[in-house]
């Protein structure tokens, strides 16, 4: 069993990826998990289970909303949608992340030369 600390890259990363994925299209939990895994080329080791506490956090903050529906495979699923507040939050988080990433990259690049 992995520790919770090892599960995320950094706090909030999972939430950011969830929001980004949902921005493209509303998805239910399982599809969301598969999508993130697939898109990251399985580079990120994410326990599927850890998705759910993250989703609950986003629900509580009202960054996403959920509705019960039927999936393409004809299952009763709960489909998550990005809210306006969520979209704004994502934008903010992404730009913060990019700034941070740029900073880190520069330092790392400088170190190499």
């Amino acid at each position: 069993m992995k520790n919770r600390e090892q599960r995320d890259l950094f706090p909030g990363a999972l939430e950011m990826m969830v929001l980004r994925t949902l921005k493209r299209q509303p998805l239910h939990g399982y599809a969301l998990a598969q999508h993130i895994k697939r898109t990251s080329n399985d580079l990120l080791q994410i326990e599927e289970g850890s998705l759910y506490p993250a989703l609950q956090r986003l629900l509580k903050e009202e960054l996403v909303k959920a509705e019960w529906g039927v999936s393409s495979t004809n299952r009763r699923v709960r489909i998550y949608k990005l809210t306006a507040k969520g979209a704004k939050h994502l934008e903010h988080e992404v730009s913060r992340f990019e700034t941070m990433l740029e900073g880190i990259t520069r330092v790392l690049a400088r170190g190499e030369s």
Binding site: G49, Y52, L55, L59, T73, R75
Partner: protein, 875 residues
Amino acid sequence: MNWLKRMFARRRIYGELSEEIREHLEEKVEELVANGMPRKEAAAAARREFGNVTLAEEDGREVWRWPRVENMIEDVRYGLRVLRKSPGFTAIAVLTLGLGIGANTAIFSVVNAVLFRPLPFRDPGRLVVVWHTPPQKSFPGVTKFVVSPANYLDWRGQNHVFEQMSAVGFRRFNLTGVGQPESVEGRAVSADFFSVLGVQPVLGRGFLEEEDQPERGNALVISYDFWQTHFGGSKDVLGSQIKLDDKSYEVVGVAPVKFDFPYQAKLWVPLAWTEKEQAVRGNHGYIVIARLKPEIEMKKAQSEMDTISARLAQQYPADDAGWGAVVLGLNLQMFQQVGPALLVLFGAVGFVLLIACANVANLTLAKALGRRKEIAVRRALGASRARVISLVLTETILISVIGGALALLLAHFVIEAIADFIGPQLPLAVQIGLDGWVLSFTLTISILTGFIAGLAPSWHLTKTNLNESLKQGLGKTDADSSGGRARSVFVAAEVAVSLVLLIGAGLMIRTLYLLRNANSGMDARNVLTVTLGISSEKYATVAQQNGFFNHVLQQIRALPGVEFASAVDSLPLQGGSIQPVAVEGQPVVPMADQPEVPVRLIAPGYLRVMRIPLKQGRDITEADNANARPVILVSESFARRFWPNENPIGKHVKLTFLPGEASEVVGVVGDVRLNGLSITEPVQSVYHVMAQNPETTFMRLAVRTGVPPASLTSAVTEAIHRVDADEPVVGVQTMEAVVDESIAQNRLNMILLSAFAGLALVLASIGIYGVQAYVVRQRTREVGIRVAMGAQAAEVFRLIIAQGLRLATTGIVIGLAASFSLTRLMASQLYGLSATDPWTFIGVSIVLLMVALAACFIPARRATRIDPVVALRYE
């Protein structure tokens, strides 16, 4: 409200979350099966990919909670469930802590009432008592002394540090005119007494300045209780006339409820000193209280009083040389009365609580070891260590809080008993009871106790290796022995602490025994005493007064069952008059430099009644009357001090306070402990004769009887009333009761300390029993093997007993070491033995060892009955 809606919505949210997770897993399985994986494998793979299902769900739920609060509530509910499931454990643990906390609550409520609560006066921090400090030459060791009228008036007139200063004198009045004649405790006070304290009468007023004059001093303030008992609380009381010592007083005020300052006063009258009384400088008898001016520090007041005292000593060397003054806070006075004894008791109950804690920790640990599997499962499912610790702590805190509730109930009953004992020793009525402070104290120590009791068990539980714990049932593990070690440490500590308490109690018991059997110099058995005061209005001349007392004594001597009767002004053990004397053969010095000795006034036959031995010369007789030359008796140590190598008979002593010529010593008598049983320094005293005293209005009659003394109470009372039906007869007491009263404080301390030590002993033996019982259970297999290999029952028995004794001995050794240093703290309360009295130390250790042995007995017996066949199959 948003959060309120959320609370109600939660059940739905949790349901949806579980459903969603279930769907997720199913979808995964379906997909894997569709890809050709067998269903069973697929289910496992899906779970592996998902991770910890329960934890994900828990974490998901937690998002919606106030985690701390709700975890706590959940823990409490869980804890209550666990406690309900094991009622035996719960009852013992609650009772144990209830007793421990109850003892602490009771003692704290006294400490709180006596030491912490502000006095019920206006701005009590500025109230002080000003005492004389007597010359050490005449009063060795005495640091506080009452004040003479003239000095008080000078202090009052000359100081710049006190707002007001009031003198209080102790009086006993014969009350007639309302109901039965009786004798009441009264105080004569200066007019500003009530305003110094800032106390407002509930009815009427305090005294006016003009009432504090010799001709006008017939105003009277009565206590609230007196008002209720004598006037039925009627508002018409103001203006009523009351006769005190045959003088008429008018009621002008009623004091507030509970106000009885100082020392259980029932009424107050103005001092109303005559000019002659105001001039008295060498005879001390008043308590002086004062209120500091704002901004004036205690130190400043002290230095001002030093200056004034020095000036007075110079001005009146005959009376004031060597007499200083000391300013002490009134609240400090309260503390000094009972503080030291209270602190010993507070320490004792603290120890009892520690033992209770150790016991509950032990019980919890024993129970918790049985729950190791449950805890291990919890940990395996992802519960953090902190979470498990908090679970166990919640349980012990629950126990101790319930125990705390029980404690309040217990304390409620104990407090009344303590209050009855301690009340009369305080200068002021205090309300000892369960107030807000006591309640918060109890709650605080309850929680703290539960925390301390739960700390070790929870620590042990969570540090155990998960794998080992899950394997429990396969035999012993390391964790068992380490838990066992902790339990052994607890038990040894319990034994040590109980030993300290038992030794403390043992010392007190021996003290009381030694005091009770101390040679006081007189024989208290078969003596009845009666307090008799007469009015100096009705019996104005000394002839009339003596006539009355002699007549009464004759009547009593004639009663059947009476061997003899006599009288004295103050009974032995109760203190009394101390006066300066001029002794023949000593240099002539002013009064201030004269030696001060106890002086007693006696009627003929006093020695015979009290069985005080006559060592030399003769006793006083009826012939030593007002017309004969004055004679006195002196005590052996008096004679030895002043005439070490001479015959004391025929020497002369002048009682400075008495008019007339010096008295001739006609006899030497044994020393008597006049000031209390525990004061062993020989009392150098003087006895002079009632018939030769200028005024006698108050005597204690002493009657030696051939029958049980109390049975003569009514006969003696009737005899007195045959002489004068108006004189109140009070304080009819056997001399043995007087002795008991003089050591009441020692007895109370002894009883309380013994009770607490007894409690400690019971708790410690429960602790030893618990550990041994547990050890036997743990070693069942081992014992089974031993028996199977041919070990005899006696060997098994010895095995278990030996282990128990090892614990007890360790505890006793530690306890002895601790006692050596701790009992010194109570040295001031001991009599006739040292704080490290070897007999007590050895005796108590043996008793404790015996009790430990008894506690090991049942588990050891059980071990001998172990059937090897069953034992080897055990678990």
